[in-house]
Amino acid sequence: MNPGQDISQNLFEELDDLYQDLILDHYRRPRNQQQVADPDICAEGHNPFCGDRVALQIKLEDGRVTQVGLQSHGCSITQASASKMTELLKDKTLEETVILSKLFTAMMQGKKLTEEELERLGEMKAFSAVCKYPIRIKCAVLPWNTLEDGVKHYRSGQKHR
């Protein structure tokens, strides 16, 4: 313990590893919490075991995400993951969003990612410690699974579910 460090920080050190500032920040001030009108992609996810809920709307232009709307309910991990995700999706092609989702899921499953892959995940890296909390993993991936569901339905020609 370095002298001068705040004691309360040290008390919760391991915890801070899970609850990175970015996570708490997004949990407290989730981004893109508006309903997007006339979305191209629209999906809802539900984890009945925790009661977590995520609703997502995406508007595309030239195959790229231009607007994302989010309504989420649940624990900090779910909400922060959803909120940060909406930021990341902006300007991505659907292809790219799915790759991101796969990478994030892999990270959650404790798989070792390359430097480059980690780079792509950007600030989502803040969630890396979640993989040490098996029960919380599905909180973190719920928004991404919801996204993948939405993309799949969009691609199968079904604009709105």
């Binding site: 920080q9 915890l15 801070d16 500032d21 708490l24 009661g51 309910h73 624990c75 991990i77």
Partner: protein, 415 residues
């Protein structure tokens, strides 16, 4: 009860560098050394299959197994022939649903239960109602867990064949007036099944006093190993029931095309039972009787009363269930308006405090409470006031941790 803590080896364990504070007893209890040793001793000294062995091990084991049945019978004031060993409460209730209910519930009949049942005492009746063309009715209740007994006047009819209800809610801790309900149900000719998963481990239960027809409970919630539980059935009812699972010792004579059944209660124990589990359950019962169930109850009333007071210190925190400790067991479910129970649970775990978080297999009750999950602290004989203090104080820290405000110093980036 402080002195008994040393009987529980796990209580000296550390979790994440902190002493374990185990407050998830409604999910499963910890085990005293005597129970753990009973398992080792069984396997090191006696292990054999039960029933009809001419060899010494087999005789020793059969004797101990039946002795355990007698102990369990005495514990709940029942005759031994009414005690069936099952895997747990869930299997016990399913057994009744597949045997007695299939044979006695007819189209148009009604099964009465409550909205606060554990899934294990709800889903089997949903299945029976659907399979038999019967309907499932619910005794109305307050969010605190008080059942509307006045509604029984209209709910209990000649079509009511079964009242299936919990003796103690595993979420609210509420103790239900089983005796009164049983009396009124019997007046209408209905039988009464009591889910005793939360009551038998924690309060004195006597089936003669309750006058119930079925009582189901789990060993693992009352100091015994996992995989063993009990279904008590009033012998007059048991005699009329067809067997559930078939095979092994439950048959008397078997031909290629037919069979006759063995005596009660063996008829309902198909296959090799959890012999060591049953014997260890007998030891757990000895342990509890030695403490005295009145004292167990008294201890939990004290602890729960203290916890209910201390929980009032927590900001924006709702505590569910009755406030009168005479009407509740040692279970405290709660919700914070701003911090999700999962986050509270994870925070507590980092301080060594184990509580349960979620819907507690009582989703319909969650809906009634208008929550998707609660935190739940539940006590048992080895819990002490200092643990309640730690729980409340850690919850306070947790709430501060997750609530917006500059309570964390900035951390170096990339940490």
């Amino acid at each position: 009860m402080v002195s008994i803590r040393k009987d529980f080896p796990i209580l000296s364990r550390q979790v994440r560098g902190k002493p374990l504070v185990y407050l998830d007893n409604a999910a499963t209890s910890q085990k005293p050394r005597a129970v753990i040793q009973a398992l080792s001793e069984y396997y090191e000294q006696h292990n054999a299959n039960v029933h009809r062995a001419v060899h010494t091990l087999g005789q020793e084991v059969t004797e101990r197994y039946e002795e355990a049945r007698q102990k369990v019978a005495d514990f709940i004031g029942a005759p031994a022939e009414g005690i069936i060993f099952t895997r747990g409460t869930t299997e016990a209730i399913n057994l009744v649903s597949y045997t007695w209910a299939e044979a006695n519930i007819s189209p148009g009949d009604e099964i009465l239960t409550t909205p606060m049942e554990h899934h294990s005492n709800l889903l089997p009746w949903q299945r029976v109602a659907q399979a038999r063309g019967a309907s499932l009715k619910f005794i109305p209740m307050s969010p605190q867990g008080t059942l509307s007994l006045s509604a029984l006047d209209t709910l209990l009819t000649e079509r009511t064949k079964l009242v299936a209800l919990t003796h103690m809610s595993n979420v609210l801790g509420a103790i239900t007036p089983v005796k009164e309900i049983a009396r009124r149900a019997h007046e209408k000719g209905a039988l009464v099944l009591v889910d005793g998963a939360q009551s038998v481990p924690h309060i004195p239960v006597d089936v003669k006093d309750l006058d119930c027809d079925f009582l189901a409970f789990s060993g693992h919630k009352m100091l015994a190993p996992t995989g063993i539980g009990v279904l008590y059935v009033r012998p007059q009812v048991l005699e009329t029931m067809e067997p559930f699972q078939l095979g092994g010792e439950m048959a008397r004579e078997v031909w290629l095309d037919r069979a006759t059944w063995n005596d009660l209660p063996i008829r309902f124990e198909a296959g090799t039972p959890n012999i060591a589990g049953a014997i260890a359950l007998g030891v757990a019962v000895d342990y509890l009787r030695n403490l005295g169930m009145e004292r167990v109850r008294e201890h939990e009333i004290q602890l729960t009363g203290y916890a209910l007071v201390r929980f009032q210190e927590l900001p924006n925190t709702e505590v569910f269930g009755p406030w009168d400790t005479q009407q509740r067991g040692g279970i405290i479910s709660f919700c914070h308006t701003g911090v999700h129970s999962h986050d509270l649970g994870t925070f507590l775990d980092h301080e060594g405090v184990a509580i349960r978080v979620g819907h507690h297999c009582a989703m319909p009750l969650m809906e009634l409470l208008k929550v998707s999950a609660t935190g739940r602290a539940s006590f048992y004989i080895y819990n002490i006031k200092a643990e309640v203090d730690l729980l409340v104080e850690t919850l306070q820290k947790a709430i501060r941790y997750f609530t917006p405000g500059p309570r964390r110093v900035a951390r170096p980036t990339n940490s």
